[in-house]
């Protein structure tokens, strides 16, 4: 599985070479391999040192030139972490992100925050500015350095994996929240048929949540250290909360009475919103595993929507 991605990256590079009339060489291959085999934010010198270990005859100029190519074809991204060196990070199927940099141990935390993006979008739009790329870097001291502890040095899972994990976590949170909503709606509902509807949908949500949790479990098993890796995608649980429909509370809370049809309508509302929400999220990201998870969730919600809709139509055929 991880090998497949490596292959895809190499193929992408070769394709780039072909399309530009460039040639495949031992050195380029070696540099690509070295770059792909190392996570983190490496300077030219870093990569040169690693390459030299494998072939002492490679020149640093070739490393410069090859990294420029890797940058051009979307495998590497040139970044500047404020130390005057050009550094390169993995770019292929990695979401664009921001950096938190410890000025003491030089550890870099990558993160993404749709809320930050939203606020920023609001700002630039006031100037009618068209943003093309951005640089958000926060410098300071990490917890370990502040407390004079050694930073953990184990191999870090790569950002795409962490992003996928966080996407799954978000999907699970959504599913769990839906589940809880249907359960509480069922328990409040005095109408037996409506209650039954909520209960059955809660079960469906539960089963989907379990499925996602299992998937997350598998992911953790395959990827060492993934579970402990710091959060990458910051999502706001309030955002999820807002998708939950309000139960009609004109009556006292305990006197809720929704028949099957009304219950199904409410469920349709939630499923539709959730689908839209995930679709929206999926669209924010370039081709990544996380994006695919969001897409899948949106699809699944739409399917659930459709199945609930069929049920609603069976009760009372739709008008129009």
């Amino acid at each position: 599985m991880p090998g497949r991605k490596l292959e895809a990256e190499k193929e992408l590079f070769y394709e780039y070479l072909r399309q530009n009339g460039l040639k495949k060489t031992r050195q380029k291959d070696l540099i690509l391999d070295t770059f792909l085999g190392n996570e983190g934010h490496m300077s030219v010198e870093d990569i040169y040192a690693l390459v030299k270990k494998r072939d002492r005859k490679v020149g640093i100029v070739t490393v410069f030139r090859t990294l420029k190519s890797l940058n051009a074809c979307g495998i590497a991204r040139e970044i500047n972490l404020g130390d005057g060196l050009t550094r390169f990070e993995h770019c292929y199927q990695h979401p664009v992100h921001h950096h938190i940099i410890c000025t003491k141990c030089l550890r870099v935390i990558e993160f993404l925050s749709p809320e930050l993006e939203r606020v920023q979008q609001g700002v630039v739009s006031r100037y009618r500015f068209q943003p093309l790329h951005q640089r958000i870097q926060i410098y300071g001291l990490c917890e370990d350095c502040r407390e004079n502890r050694a930073a953990p040095t184990g191999p870090q899972p790569d950002t795409e994996k962490i992003f996928a994990r966080d996407a799954l976590r978000m999907a699970i949170a959504m599913q769990r929240q839906g589940c809880e909503f249907y359960r509480s709606a069922a328990s409040c509902n005095q109408d037996p048929a409506g209650r039954e509807v909520f209960e059955s949908i809660a079960l469906e949500e539960e089963s989907h949540a379990l499925q996602l949790e299992m998937e997350l479990e598998m992911m953790h098993r395959y990827e060492k250290g993934l579970e402990e890796a710091p959060v990458f995608l910051h999502f706001d649980s309030c955002e999820l909360q807002q998708l939950i429909p309000n139960l009609p509370s004109d009556l006292g809370d305990s006197e809720l009475r929704l028949d099957a049809r009304r219950a199904l309508e409410i469920a349709l509302q939630l499923e539709k919103r959730a689908a839209g929400f995930f679709k929206d999220y999926a669209e924010r990201f370039g081709e990544t595993e996380g994006k695919r998870i969001f897409e899948r969730c949106a699809e699944q919600q739409m399917k659930h929507f459709a199945s609930i809709n069929r049920r609603a139509e069976a009760i009372a055929p739709a008008s129009a």
Copy 2:
């Protein structure tokens, strides 16, 4: 008035020199003057070119060294706008801010967004990271470049002035909102004494708003181009809206009936919140004119609070 700030900056530099056993020289003075006399984000070369016009014998090394000193004593701030040059911007009594950079015309828009700050703070705190400084830069195309217009070249007012303007604008918006609230509360209120209270407070707010507006007017008159300068401080009017108390709406909206005492209590609530709000804002910024405006507003709101409080006590002496 602007001369006074210049003097303060020079004095700050001389003080720095004295405290570090360094010497005051013709060259340092010339470089400081040149830096202070030019807004914008100048590279060493830029400043060197300007300095050379006044004294051909000055060396670029001296410019490098002097700018390092200016950076060290808080008059200049070293920034990196992604073009590989170290640039310097005014720092003394200028709020820290972010940059939007047009990659075509190289124009730089400075901005500040407390909301962005808030989101960012939320992110770093999840990593228990202690942020010390940050770099937020958005690259893209400005409106003028997208539409192939020439960028306006008039002299830009400096950021501190624009910040002060925006602080005033915010204070005015707050005052206007309060005014509107008291007016509408008065018109809804069926209790004559309560209505009179709201009306009189509305007048006080109005007078304060007018005072601030006059101040803004003066500011515009003294500073060419200030009125048209793009927004620097992005504040969210919802944030202001949230300070407005909800009128008790247990009854129908038109049946509001608040006696003088209740009306005064509601006014106290608003004034207190507003004072807290401005105090909070003032605390976010270093020594700048904008900060002082926020502080003054907080004070004024506290005074208003006290005066309303006296009125409330006159009606019914406070318990405890």
